[in-house]
Subunit: 624 residues, 2 copies
């Protein structure tokens, strides 16, 4: 059966050879990189870019383009070579690979317009690709998503989470290809070249799976066609390849992972062999024809917002996690880009409010936090504003994804509920006590920790339209309403809730500890001791001016947090006042906590009102 391709097989073969040559040259010039991992993928990339995918070669970000994710990010040079072949970047620029001045980094990042998500941490690109495929449904486009994985990479559990979610959403617009070159970094992969075993795993997870020779161009084209014809499920093409293919003396050899060929004799020998592989072809390598995919509706609202004002009575008592759900629904109403994901705890995070209202924009990842955050990554890369939601502590399951979202500077707004010892009886495994540290370790990530329902709603709107990632920390227990509906909040702001000219210490709290601080204020006031109380609802960026002023005016700061000391509120405040400096006293959970009632635990671990009052008295006494 002839294969339907506008470009002849010999030409595709020549393109593959050119991709090999460019990958080898670039890595040799850089003195490092993964040429052999590029060589195994050359036919796969050549056929995708020059026969299978529909895209505008001049506009890689066009909404209706088919998408390509290089999940095996260490093969970056072959991706860059493909875009040089397409004509989007200059071939000479390939030789700037891995230089500080160049956007052609060791692993792809979205500094390049043809990269949607940064890859290089294995097993993430496939999750992002899944999110990109979900996005096609969201915007009503028939673009297809192609993801290239490594076989070593397929050991990552996140890959199998993507398998489950691809099955659940029956994503027949998603086609993944495994470059099964049988060699990892340090040894043969577990499955080596047993393509059927790998394919059977994907079949067991509900995917259509095809095993082909990954250097056979016709076989690859047929497999893509079969994938496109397969309805109701995604397809995995297991492409059996040879690492270092085309360079006879390294083909399939262990010990050549991540090694560039030495310039001079070694490189010359490699290039000579590769150049000898060009064949006669009927036409010169083409520039990719423009995309023929249908246009996608423009879902960007002209002016999204403002969201309706919070609607609470001063006497209400509402958990911030519940206000989070309310805010999601309000945001969803004004902006079609808002989407929500959860990991089977939607009835605890209150993301279920959004699911009930906007089921088409809600994605259930079941108990698989990596693909939840990874799919959010992909959705965000294509214009959605995703809120992946789970218990704060289980976001740590996706810590490496959160990190890569930072590298990609994506608009992912992750939300963690059930923080600290104030969750109570479930015990330490369920208590988020290091989530602030994780979020603050992402540069440019806004870290927001509202104490009441009003500030939750207001901060959610700010998070949604913050440029880049944001983290929203919500709590389990009900808390009183602190603010009126029209109170204004800013990312990087804070609220001075108690203040006088005679304040002798500043107490900084957030979330549940803010209410403890307010109780301590009342106790101390009755004793004639005035303290300043600050709601530090923005932990990154932090309100340097207010904290410095408070520190200087009152002479000491006490921070109190339902979190471990490392990386938390105390550290954020320390950074703000470090050069002043102001004596700082941190109250935090300092050991592994136990199960117990919330109020018991808050007291037992030393962050209750009575402990705060004691600490204030101690600090004042020490000042004398």
């Amino acid at each position: 059966m002839p294969v339907d391709t506008a470009v002849s097989i010999p030409t595709l073969k020549n393109i593959a050879t050119q991709l090999r040559i460019d990958s080898v040259k670039a890595t040799s010039e850089a003195g490092s990189g993964h040429p052999t991992s590029c060589c195994s993928a050359a036919e796969i990339v050549a056929t995708l870019f020059f026969s299978e995918m529909r895209f505008d070669p001049k506009n890689p970000q066009a909404d209706q383009n088919d998408r390509f994710v290089l999940s095996k990010g260490h093969a970056a040079p072959v991706l860059y070579a493909a875009w040089a072949e397409v004509g989007f970047i200059k071939r000479e620029s390939l030789l700037t690979l891995r230089e500080l001045k160049s956007d052609l980094e060791g692993h792809p990042t979205p500094r390049l317009p043809f990269v949607d998500v940064a890859t290089g941490s294995l097993g993430q690109g496939i999750c992002a690709g899944l999110g990109i495929a979900l996005n096609a449904r969201r915007i009503g486009s028939d673009y297809r998503t192609y993801v290239l994985l490594g076989d070593g990479e397929s050991a990552e559990g996140s890959v199998w989470e993507s398998a489950e979610m691809g099955d659940h959403y029956a994503l027949d617009n998603l086609c993944a290809i495994t470059d099964m070159n049988a060699l990892g970094q340090s040894r043969h992969t577990q499955l080596s070249h047993d393509g059927e075993r790998l394919a059977n795993r994907w079949r067991a997870f509900g995917w259509h799976a095809i095993v082909v020779d990954g250097h056979d161009i016709e076989a690859l084209l047929k497999a893509y066609a079969e994938a496109k014809a397969t309805k109701g499920k995604p397809t995995m093409i297991v492409a059996k390849t040879i690492k270092g293919k085309g360079i006879s003396w390294v083909e399939g050899k262990d010990g050549w992972h991540g090694k560039a060929f030495k310039k001079g004799e070694e490189l010359d020998k490699v290039l000579k062999e590769l150049e000898s592989q060009f064949v006669q072809a009927p036409e010169p390598p083409p520039i990719q024809r423009p995309a023929k995919a249908g246009s996608a509706p423009d879902l960007k609202p002209k002016a999204p917002g403002p969201i309706p004002a919070p609607d609470y009575k001063p006497t209400d008592s509402v958990a911030t996690r519940e206000a989070y759900g309310t805010a999601l629904v309000k945001l969803g109403a004004i902006d079609p880009r808002i989407v929500v994901l959860d990991a089977d705890v939607g009835n605890s995070t209150f993301s279920e409010k959004f699911e009930h209202k906007y089921p088409d924009r809600f994605y259930e990842a079941f108990i698989a936090e990596q693909v939840m955050v990874g799919a959010a990554m992909g959705l965000a890369s294509r214009g959605a504003i995703p809120f992946p939601s789970t218990f704060a502590v289980f976001l740590s399951r996706a810590a490496d994804f959160v990190r890569m979202i930072g590298i990609s500077h994506l608009n992912v707004k992750f939300a963690g509920s059930h923080v600290g010892v104030s969750i109570g009886e479930d015990g330490p495994s369920q208590m988020g006590l290091e989530d602030i540290a994780m979020a603050r370790a992402v540069p440019d990530c806004a870290v927001l920790y509202p104490a009441d329902a009003v500030s939750t709603e207001r901060l959610m709107a700010l998070a949604a339209y913050h440029d880049g990632p944001a983290y929203i920390r919500t709590g389990r227990p009900k808390t009183p309403i602190l603010y009126t509906a029209n109170e204004e909040f800013t990312i990087g702001g804070s609220k001075v809730l108690r203040s006088s000219a005679s304040d002798r210490v500043t107490v900084v709290g957030a979330g549940v500890t803010l209410f403890e601080a307010l109780k301590a204020y009342d106790t101390l006031k009755a004793e004639g001791i005035a303290i300043r109380v600050i709601d530090l609802y923005s932990l990154q960026p932090v309100d340097v001016a207010t904290l410095r002023k408070a520190g200087q005016e009152t002479g000491a700061i006490i921070t109190v947090e339902d979190h471990y000391p490392a990386g938390g509120i105390g550290d954020a405040v320390a950074t703000a006042v470090e050069s002043v400096p102001v004596p700082l006293h941190r109250m935090a959970v300092r050991e592994i906590p136990r199960s117990g009632k919330p109020e018991e635990l808050i007291d037992h671990y030393g962050i209750s009102a009575s402990h705060i009052a004691d600490e204030v008295r101690r600090v004042i006494a020490a000042k004398k």
Copy 2:
């Protein structure tokens, strides 16, 4: 075919009923918990504890006992009920569930002698169970390991990582059971009751898999026997169950996850129905007979150490990651408990040195960091001292496991190489810039960051015998030798490398930045500016006394680190000097870095010697 059991089927049935009653009572008394998730597992737990497993009921920690891991940790009450039935804890104590004073926490922790690893973060217990099964081989014992999972839990990618590793190590001493009750927290699980689909996934991963009715005691016993008879591969028993089994009006009903029955009428009704399920039995419920497993050799060395002194010339230049490999081999020689794991980067972390010398104590997890750390968790729980090793940044893939290791207070010594921008051309996806924050967020975790090969070897020995978890941060580039072989180091110590009475600023570095600080010292000395330089090789605990003294004597501290500011060296120092206080100036990587040459990047991101010298001059000028 009659089933071979010392305890009759009716008695096992009655035990299951008793486990249900105890689980329901305990959760109702606590006012929270997961009775319905206990009820689905009652027959599984009854048959394991009273027919299948061999263990000493008076000594749950005996080396030769069969092991049980409750991976679905939220079913803790049924585990506690089983140990009450065994006679190890008093039945009355079950009613202290989830109280602050009680060790019967909401999810199991090793505060209880019959719990090896804390569970409650799903998908981890099976990885730990795998490590426990590996440990049986290490100590030459024929104990078997049983792990009870939930079906919702099986969505976690880490579960499939354990499937791969169980296959790779052909662990026929491992038997897992999935309590397939078809209901998650918020909805039906993805596979609902399709046991064959789940079993086929395990088969595709190389396991023997059996589907049974999880309430059919004979079927369970036969499945255990089949598992035991299956050689060369682990077994998964998919036990189809009913959530809430035994309580007719909640059986299989959505909306009953994690809800205790209300004391009074509701509870009475439940207990009445359960009590009606007792049957006539030939004997009273037995106390488990003693273990019949063979004894295990005592591998604890009488006095492990000291390890041979480091052997470097003062002119050597050695990467700390390489010294890490050397230290592993030395430790392995003196202590059979030392084991090493890697995730396919052993030729970069240098753990391969250990693998070559002690292949039987080296475990390859391929590119699956969660099961690498999870298996280490299990190994440590049974007396091994495991060093899971990978790039620092990829430890973040296992951040949630690291957290749970902290809760279990296990002797896992995780090691991260390739930290910071000093790795160079590979780019940000490969740079550990938040690993110190992750490690410092584990209370009691020693966080060690050696700058040279000598201190690496010395700190490795300290880490190995530190009580609890430890993190060792190593670097990619070669660095000079700083210390003589007999230099002494302590966890919580530091080294003042440059000091005089006229020091005007203290510069604190560690790893590569220490050498930048020493270069800055030379530059500034030539200008007549004296600075103190401290090697802060222990980041947790931190040397409070030395830092305070230096801060007070020199009037200012500058910290410089190849890490983001959040949670890193600056934060550690800030904590040490917060109450003094001393002006603190943090130099750190403050944005997402790019690819480039190591020395270029160190300078570009502001942590090089020249930047340090500039900062010193600036701080001195500002003091005037």
